[in-house]
Symmetry: C2
């Protein structure tokens, strides 16, 4: 079987093709022949073990801008036990296994860089239990956020973590996903109560539980959240849910300069106003949105969008509190609404932001960055990033989950042979700016392939050494999503 190899990305060279653990740790070559266990896998999964070319091609990439690599086979598992048996078999034969959910990763998590098995969990999409009184549920890892929220609606509950994409919740756990609601409801880390995880050797481990808090034992749940499929395969998840608020309101406000917008955010949060979402558009993104969504009552200025959840009186009061603070900081054109249609209109700029950005140069592809800084450094970070963008000559508007200092640039990949490389280089510069301001290279997309080289700078050599020791303890043969997260 021939697997396509990718060579062109600066973080994705031949180096990435080597096993993650050094050869002296007894790791067999990653190209160990899959055919040695093919019969066993077929006995386990039947038709659900596929070597079909189209299916392999589908599982060779996510939504990143990296070159794909096909797996040797795709396994569509349906039960925890199947995952366990498959991993035991692959571990014994040193066959790489790369978990695959909805394929919405932006950092190459699902690319099987060493070939082997793409472990597709999308058929594990059953909602196993919803406990209304405890506001929690248990799901299989392949359930998507939308599917869960549709299921929950009649119970008056919702799951708040919203990364935008139609991701599976297993994938969201693996990449420590977040989204616009995180400022009020936390990231996925705060909303997972427990898991069933299958370890590299097939052992099935239950972590956490149904209680809201516990002070017993190491926090294995949080260790698997964000482990990007490198420590175990997340099979089932116990999630915290929240009551659908009685009322929502939205607000919109523009500023002559970025600092005033960011100061408004800081002051709103210090005042303890429980914002559900707070999003920033820079002036370029505002201009893009005006053109794309034909927003006649918006100016090409730094813009803040708010959403509040609570009682009817509460959301009105929250909006008024924000208006006051925004006004004090020179905010203009403040508008707010509680009606669903009007709220959608106020947020239209944000909802269409990605497409509006792409429309700045019709036909362009976008590369989305994911840096995060302390909120106090956000204005500074965005100004420096804007300067780097201008210097690069590339078009890249900025939107930000400004309540937690996380901002995305949609880099419009320039035309020409070196376009992709220039876009990657700009992404790296933006990460460099964030790190120099005490930030992180990724707020919610994860490390995957694209951000591996920043891990030492962000966490330090000692922490990285500890992470490698944990990896070696959990997956001594290095079969789980090899080539990801750790720098070579």
């Amino acid at each position: 079987m021939v697997t396509r190899r990718a060579e062109s990305h600066p973080h994705f060279t031949n180096r990435a093709m080597r096993p993650m653990l050094p050869p002296d740790q007894g790791v067999p070559a990653m190209d160990a022949p899959l055919h040695s266990i093919l019969d066993d896998l077929r006995a386990l999964l039947g038709e659900r073990l596929s070597t079909n070319a189209a299916i392999r091609a589908d599982h060779g990439h996510g939504q990143e801008s990296l070159p794909p690599v096909q797996p040797d086979a795709v396994a569509f598992v349906e039960t925890v036990e199947e995952i366990s048996k498959l991993l035991a078999l692959c571990n014994a034969n040193a066959i790489p296994v790369t978990p695959f959910g909805a394929g919405s990763s932006l950092e190459g998590h699902v690319i099987p860089v060493h070939g082997g098995i793409s472990l597709d969990l999308s058929r594990m999409n059953r909602i196993l239990a919803v406990n209304q009184a405890d506001m929690d549920c248990r799901i299989q890892a392949g359930v998507t956020r939308e599917q869960l929220n549709t299921h929950l609606r009649d119970a008056g509950l919702f799951f708040p973590v919203d990364p935008g994409a139609a991701a599976t919740i297993g994938g969201m756990c693996a990449t420590r996903a977040s989204g616009t609601n995180a400022v009020r409801y936390g990231t996925i880390r705060e909303n997972v109560l427990g898991m069933t995880v299958v370890l590299a050797d097939g052992r099935i481990v239950r972590t956490g539980g149904r209680v809201r808090k516990s002070a017993t034992g190491y926090d294995l749940t949080r260790l698997f959240v964000g482990s990007e499929g490198t420590l175990g395969v997340i099979a089932e998840i116990q999630l915290r849910l929240h009551g659908i608020p009685e009322a929502s309101s939205a607000a919109f406000c523009q500023f002559t300069d970025l600092e005033s917008a960011v100061r408004t955010v800081t002051e709103v949060m210090q005042a303890g106003i429980p914002i559900a979402r707070i999003e920033l558009l820079d002036d370029l993104q505002a201009r893009a949105c005006i053109a794309y969504s034909r927003l006649t009552d918006m100016e090409p200025l730094p813009t803040l969008l708010f959403e509040f959840h609570g009682t009817h009186a509460g959301v009105a009061e929250q909006a008024q509190g924000v208006e006051e603070i925004a006004g004090f900081n020179g905010g203009r054109g403040f508008r707010w609404a509680t009606d669903a249609a009007e709220r959608a209109q106020l947020w239209k700029a944000r909802h269409d932001a990605y497409w509006a950005a792409l429309a700045l140069r019709p036909g362009a592809r976008g590369l989305t960055t994911d840096a995060v800084v302390p909120v106090s450094r956000l204005a500074e970070a965005v100004m420096q990033v804007r300067a780097a963008i201008e210097h690069s000559g590339i078009t890249a508007p900025i939107v930000g989950h400004v309540g937690d200092g996380n901002f995305h640039c949609v880099i419009l990949v320039p035309e020409g042979e070196d376009g992709q490389e220039r876009a990657w280089k700009l992404d790296q510069q933006i990460v460099g700016i964030a790190l120099s301001l005490g930030g992180s290279c990724s707020g919610e997309h994860g490390v995957g392939l694209g951000k591996r080289d920043f891990l030492i700078r962000e966490h330090g050599a000692e922490a990285l050494e500890v992470m490698r020791a944990i990896k070696a303890t959990f997956d001594p043969r290095g079969i789980l999503n090899p080539g990801k997260m750790f720098p070579d």
Copy 2:
């Protein structure tokens, strides 16, 4: 040097004296002579390395009801580097090291069951930085909650995690502390952004960072939170802070039966009312409080106490929302207040609850249990626990952090030779009830010595095996707080 050994507790027998790791892993006997490194330690710490009998006795116990064991020496460290050098020395010589903060542990965490060094962090009590705009701070591990909140008051910020005791924040991190505010602000787990931790061999590791969220690398911060000093010594902590709310209100309500009280809680939470605290007293505890605090307007009935944080209008609305739901569930005597003095009066029963419980039998000692169950099982759990208490013939009123299903019984240790043993037995029965209802043996006090034997039942053999593997990776010689958390 002779160390006193404790033999009488069912969880604290000779078994606990053995090194945690089996001898075939090359762990030298734990009674390795300290004198071999005494000179080195004195060179490092001078007078701050003490073998004074009174100081050793002070460091032989926390607030648990277990027999004390004295350390061979007490080290009063002042810097991260001192911790590092001390641990490197102890690791090389297999000398046990037991971290000590304020000595407020209720589960024997600070008892140096194998002797060796008690590592006292109380002099590391500097507040290193407060970032008002980011609402975070960096502190040394020996800073106490009260000290921090006094320091923060003028900045309009506060640190919400309140375990009741005058604990150090390092100790709170190590035991995954929580308290009455957790229902709104989360436990310490949700309020730690990063740490500086010293590993067993002296390596200094920085975890997390200053950003509110990051999706890069394994969550080492959460791995150390709740690790009870068995994976590393927490030296510095980056904490999330919160704005002091504009207004607070308190409410009080009584119910004819426990189920109605618990149902009220569930419905309040489902309605999304952002309660800051919600506490339950059972009828026996209510009776104790009436007698102790002379509360003429309270009946000996199941009682709920609420606290709300927000704007003036917001806290009024929240109290009204709760009154409505409580009324629907047969709540009586509903009162609420915003004035500080009146609020204190409403909460007086809760503030004095522990002393009121002890006063039920003057001169009695209390043993506090810490079980937690899913909120939906709370009424059932408390009814079963009440039956077990009655069957035991022991007096033990119940107070609960009912918003997260965590409840404490204050077991009045009976008189007589077997009194302590009967109290421990009742504690074990209560844990058994919680576990049978899908709960945990500890919501916030931790495992320590007292709850070790429940870990397998709560987490399963597979998870415990994974935890042991992590322990062996971090502390291969087993010097860090040996004898704690893991069953023998």
